[in-house]
């Protein structure tokens, strides 16, 4: 089966425009720096605030968010793989536009609206292997902060310090590339 050729990148967060523009579908990224966990309820709250022109308690400009509800034990992350990104499809494009975030890590791919926002604002969507929560936690060095814990621990925003967090596979890039459609087109020939 044909595969898209891939390069391996080690990147530090926050990502620059150059960083995100240099990534193509099929590339594998290892991230160091900070990941902000944001899933369903955190997106709802963030958009409520941003639509009222209120500020978020954390600045996402250039940052990478992680679709993840981690499992913790006394402040330590035990297991923290990605959650299904498509649940957030209806909210992600607006969050990208209103915050200037540059990277998303999740699983399963996202839809057309997010793809459009990635193109317009120069951001990138990556996937960590789903279910590999223990492996993900191994790359998480420390919990730096937490916001919105009233949403329940899985839905709160956890600010995680990571080192060589990966493999994060680029499946939607900032140039309109989509791993699934490109690979599907190749295999159907």
């Amino acid at each position: 089966m044909p595969d898209l050729c891939s390069s391996i990148f080690k990147l530090k967060t926050p990502l620059s425009e150059e960083d995100s523009m240099s990534l193509n579908v099929g590339d594998i990224v290892y991230l160091s720096g900070i990941l902000y966990t944001m899933r369903d309820m955190a997106h709802v709250r963030a958009l409520e605030l941003l639509r009222r022109r209120d500020k978020l308690p954390f600045d996402l400009r250039g940052e990478v968010i992680y679709h993840c509800g981690p499992l913790l034990k006394v402040g330590e992350v035990i297991s923290a793989g990605p959650t299904t990104s498509m649940r957030i499809e209806g909210m992600e494009a607006e969050l990208i536009e209103l915050t200037g975030l540059r990277g998303i890590v999740g699983k399963g791919g996202m839809g057309e609206r997010t793809a459009g926002a990635l193109r317009r604002f120069g951001a990138v969507y990556m996937e960590f292997p789903g279910g590999a929560g223990a492996l993900a936690a191994k790359a998480i060095k420390r919990v730096r902060d937490v916001y919105w814990r009233d949403l329940g621990d899985p839905e709160a925003v956890w600010v995680l310090e990571v080192e060589d967090f990966g493999p994060c596979i680029v499946t939607m890039d900032s140039k309109g590339g989509n791993f699934r459609t490109m690979r599907g087109a190749k295999t159907s020939k």
């Binding site: 089966m1 595969d3 898209l4 891939s6 099929g26 594998i28 309820m41 993840c68 509800g69 981690p70 499992l71 913790l72 034990k73 035990i78 297991s79 923290a80 793989g81 959650t83 299904t84 498509m86 699983k107 399963g108 791919g109 996937e127 292997p129 789903g130 279910g131 590999a132 929560g133 223990a134 492996l135 993900a136 936690a137 191994k138 329940g152 621990d153 899985p154 493999p167 596979i169 499946t171 791993f179 699934r180 690979r183 599907g184 295999t187």
Partner: protein, 281 residues
């Protein structure tokens, strides 16, 4: 039945993937190439690391479902299971997953109205024993599971179409390679119960019904032909097994449920025989 034994069983359930499942995943890794091989290697490294460190392999430690066979003392067993889940939530730990479906409030112990889910399914092999199977099911794969009330005239072909359609619609969402539990017959809720229960059968144990064993093989081929592949990244390895369970149904009905299970099929069997506790896997 000691609560400590149950807490230990839940720890093993969440941290140690059954050997038959791991074996199938290794087979796929060996057949894959490129990005899909990278994904399968990461999954297998995760399985090893979780087992070594005794930590849950996936952060979604799921909703716990208990299938119990014993003659008496059901209410006491139900209470002990709830207490074990409360303790395991702190000790293993488990992610606090259960919420009120209307308010989304999370009380933080994986308990609540009708949680954990406990089914009593008849007697154990002998009078004073308790037999139990537990499955931990995450939301990513439970969310894409489906039930169909087919027209009886749609027959076995209709059952096959329902299974293939459910897996196709699920796509990358349930963390493939998936295991597919299929429940046929009963009524609406029994078919869903059969589909979940089907996931308890070891992957290397053939369906005792010859026709159903053939149906399972055919469904494996048809599901793999969908081209979803590991994590939905393409290729021929979408499923590691299709398991069918069934029961008689109304002459005017053909209920079919499809329970889609992520690669992390976390199941365990236990027994207390004459007071002695054993994990059977």
């Amino acid at each position: 039945m000691r609560i400590e034994d149950l807490v230990e069983a839940i720890r093993v359930l969440e941290t140690d993937l059954p050997a038959d499942v791991e074996g199938r995943l290794k087979g796929i890794r060996d057949r894959e190439s490129g990005i899909c091989k990278t994904v399968m290697e990461a999954i297998l490294e995760n399985v090893r690391y979780a087992r070594e460190r005794g930590v849950p392999m996936c952060q979604d430690t799921g909703i716990l479902e208990f299938f119990v066979r014993c003659a008496h003392g059901h209410e006491e067993i139900r209470d002990k299971i709830a207490e074990a889940v409360r303790r395991a939530t702190h000790e293993v730990p488990l992610r606090t997953n259960t919420v009120n479906p209307f308010t989304r409030e999370n009380e933080g112990a994986n308990l609540g109205r009708f949680q954990p889910i406990v089914h009593f399914e008849g007697r154990a092999k002998d009078e004073n024993s308790i037999e139990m199977s537990i499955i931990a099911k995450g939301a990513g794969s439970e969310n894409v599971s489906a039930s169909f009330m087919l027209d009886p005239m749609q027959g076995v072909e209709g059952v096959k179409r329902a299974v293939v359609q459910a897996v196709q619609r699920a796509g990358a969402k349930p963390c493939p390679p998936v295991v597919v539990g299929v429940g046929v017959g009963g009524n609406l809720e029994r078919s869903a119960h059969f589909a979940k229960k089907a996931l308890l059968r070891p992957l290397d144990e053939e369906n005792p019904n010859r026709d159903l064993a053939e149906l399972e093989e055919e469904l494996v081929e048809r599901v793999n032909a969908l081209g979803i592949g590991p994590m939905g990244l393409g290729g021929d390895n979408t499923t590691i097994g299709v398991l069918v369970e069934w029961g008689h149904c109304h002459t005017a009905s053909l209920p079919v449920s499809v329970n889609i299970q992520c690669w992390a099929l976390r199941r365990i069997s236990l027994e207390w025989r004459c007071g002695e506790f054993r994990i059977l896997r």
